[in-house]
Amino acid sequence: MAMDKSGEAIVTCVDVNKWYGDFHVLKGIDLEVTKGEVIVILGPSGSGKSTFIRCINRLEEHQEGQIHVKGTELTHDVRNIAEIRREVGMVFQQFNLFPHLTILENITLAPIHVRKWNKADSEEKAMKWLTRVGIPEQALKYPGQLSGGQQQRVAIARTLTMEPEVILFDEPTSALDPEMISEVLDVMRDLADEGYTMLSVTHEMGFAKTVADRIIFMDGGKIVEMNNPNEFFNNPQHERTKLFLSQILNH
């Protein structure tokens, strides 16, 4: 896949609001993600950044506003939800591999049952992606036999074998030992270079600076600032952003 930033909107969020009981978590989020774009979402904990990306594939339900993925609106209609989940992949902080299935079964389960590809095709594609993330030799092991970094790379392969239009990363490196973070970030960097549309919540500033097309800074359930990485890190506009950056860059 070449760099293709044609401006076609993949995900469109208009005035998205969400409450947990009385607590207003998301306060009118507007965002348009175009094809091939890499967006990194930063913010202090509790700012609603994870909640926001989990709304995009309906792991959380938004109460007001619209979310469209490739023209399909996210509603209570289970058919819409199923269609959107086919096109939106997600990589979790805790990997969430299925411990009772082998690596290969973990990856081929959804292609076989959701995409309805046959088993041979699914396995071929799974092996292609396992090779891409560098661990084809682990295919027949169980998740419990792999290191954290390897498990996360399997999770990425599992997501990508489904050929999604956009991939959500929910703090993919936060549960990893420091020496394993780079192996996962390298995979993510490759994907970005190849033109995959990615939305990533992360605390990895190096990754944000070098890979992101746009950086979103969230606080208190709102998008406070949105800019390209260069402007964002060198010339932040808001006081809150400056405070956040000074806190994380100074220690």
Partner: protein, 500 residues
């Protein structure tokens, strides 16, 4: 220097020993003296009754204590003396208890062996049995068991043994290839393995067919239907009842557990409107049309047309009702069943089941008991499985959702395989309980193992003989239950592959 002082400190000290074991508190002193007195009396009695067995035990006890104490004082412990110190003689109390227990166990074993073998009669002739056992002090008349062995194991099915041999043949025929195919990795995912799995799943149904039969007698079919209420009994009945309840309650329990967890609010539209449409059509045919024909006044007409209100009610119900019917119904069912003892359910099954069944469908007593036990087992199973479902981390559900798996695939491929593995010990424990609970059907008049054993004492040959049949069924219950427990441990280990 330091090493010497440490050695000196660790040296055995009589004063410390007496303080720790006797004079620490007045209560401990009284206890130790009382226990010593009891041990003296108890062992003394045993010595008079069984000197040849007791005296060596006492000598061995004293010798090992002296050996252990010498090792302790001289610091020359070997693994054996350390084991003695740690397990048998780590205080005066424990040393005395060890002696008392060994002597007591010997006493029990000697008594039992004398009763069961030396003084026992193995003759099936009641007169000889009586003579032999009354010559000695107390002896078992095993003839009561051996003569009734067929009754105890298969009851009146002894006239239909070919059915039982067919069933056993099927099980053996499946077991032998299973030993090879399920053990070897070569057959993983092979077709033959899948066929064998399906045969195992089908085997309870095939065996049920063998034992119960279908169709009239006299034809070419050797497995014609028999009167199960008259013929089934003994261990066979206990096994049939528990296996039927286990097999039938398993899917029911899974569904109940999932139902209780469901978060679906309201009723699906097709269910409401489908029911309403059927009900309306039925009432129009059976109620409206006949009434319209004989209607005279306006009131009569309105009365006849009342069923037409049903669709309207259904519409309001569908729009207005937002409760979780599924979870509610499952909870009520589970709690009602768990709230009553099994024996109550058995009686309800016998007396009330008929009210819920359509006319002309009258299961016999065994069928009713099966229904009652299945329902009972399903309610408990549902709660066990629900425990397993709750132990699955939320991330597993989220991963399945984010991959777009359907609810069906999510549960059958991800959630249930993991949840059921977690609850295997609980489920097997419940099944062992169910097998033992089959003894309750004696109370509703079925001839299970317990009932047959009880009835032996009223046979002409074996009047008042109770102990021997009960010892026999004790062994049978124990062997079957222990086999299940052993298999469960093996299954757990096997399924433990790849657990995080």
């Amino acid at each position: 220097m330091t090493v010497n002082t440490m050695k000196a400190k660790r040296k055995f000290d009589m004063g410390t020993f007496i303080r720790a074991n006797i004079t620490k508190s007045p209560l401990l002193a009284i206890w130790t003296v009382a226990l010593a007195a009891f041990a003296f009396w108890f062992v003394g009695r045993s010595m008079i009754a069984r000197p040849l067995l007791t005296i060596p035990v006492v000598i061995a006890w004293a010798a090992t204590i002296i050996w252990m104490v010498r090792a302790e004082i001289n610091k020359t412990h070997s693994p054996t003396t350390l084991w003695l110190k740690g397990n048998l003689y780590n205080s005066i109390t424990n040393a005395l208890l060890s002696l008392i227990l060994v002597v007591a166990i010997i006493g029990f074993l000697v008594g039992f062996i004398t009763y069961a073998f030396f003084n026992a009669s193995f003759s099936e002739d009641p007169a000889i049995a009586k003579e032999v056992t009354e010559a000695g002090q107390l002896g078992a008349r095993w003839g009561s068991v051996t003569q009734n062995l067929e009754n105890l194991l298969v009851f009146s099915m002894k006239t239909e043994m070919y059915r039982i041999w067919a069933s056993i043949g099927l099980l053996v025929g499946l077991s032998i290839p299973s030993l090879i195919i399920f053990r070897s990795a070569k057959f993983n995912r092979s077709l033959i393995r899948r066929i064998l799995t399906w045969l195992w799943i089908a085997s309870p149904f095939i065996i049920f067919f063998f034992l119960r039969g279908v169709g009239e007698a006299g034809g070419s079919n050797p497995f014609y239907a028999i009167d199960t209420e008259q013929l089934w009994g003994g261990l066979l009945l206990s096994l049939i009842l528990s296996v039927v309840a286990i097999v039938a309650s398993f899917p029911l329990g899974v569904l109940l557990a999932l139902g209780r967890q469901s978060k679906i609010n309201g009723v699906p539209w097709w269910l409401t409107y489908g029911t309403a449409a059927l009900l309306t059509a039925y009432l129009i045919v059976t109620f409206t049309l006949p009434n319209l024909e004989v209607a005279e006044t306006t009131g009569n007409y309105i009365y006849a047309l009342l069923p037409l209100l049903i669709p309207l009610i259904a519409l309001f119900f569908q729009k207005g009702f937002k409760g979780n019917v599924m979870a509610g119904a499952c909870t009520v069912f589970i709690e009602c069943i768990r709230g009553v003892p099994l024996i109550t359910l058995l009686f309800s099954g016998i007396l009330l089941l008929q009210l819920f069944l359509p006319d002309g469908w009258e299961p016999n007593k065994i069928g009713r008991v099966m229904v009652a036990m299945t329902v009972f087992s399903a309610a408990y199973l549902a709660e066990n499985i629900r425990g397993g479902l709750q132990a699955i981390p939320r991330g597993q559900y989220e991963a399945a959702d984010s991959l777009g798996l359907s609810t069906y695939t999510k549960y059958t491929k991800i959630v249930l395989p993991q949840a059921l593995r977690i609850v295997i010990p609980a489920i097997v424990g419940q099944f062992i309980g169910l097998f033992k609970d089959t003894s309750l059907v004696a109370l509703v008049g079925l001839s299970d193992l317990l009932n047959v054993a009880r009835r032996i004492s009223s046979q002409q040959n074996w009047l008042t003989i109770r102990t021997e049949p009960f010892i026999f069924i004790f062994v049978v219950y124990f062997v079957v239950s222990y086999a299940m427990a052993w298999y469960s441990r093996r299954l757990e280990k096997q399924l433990g592959v790849g657990v995080r």
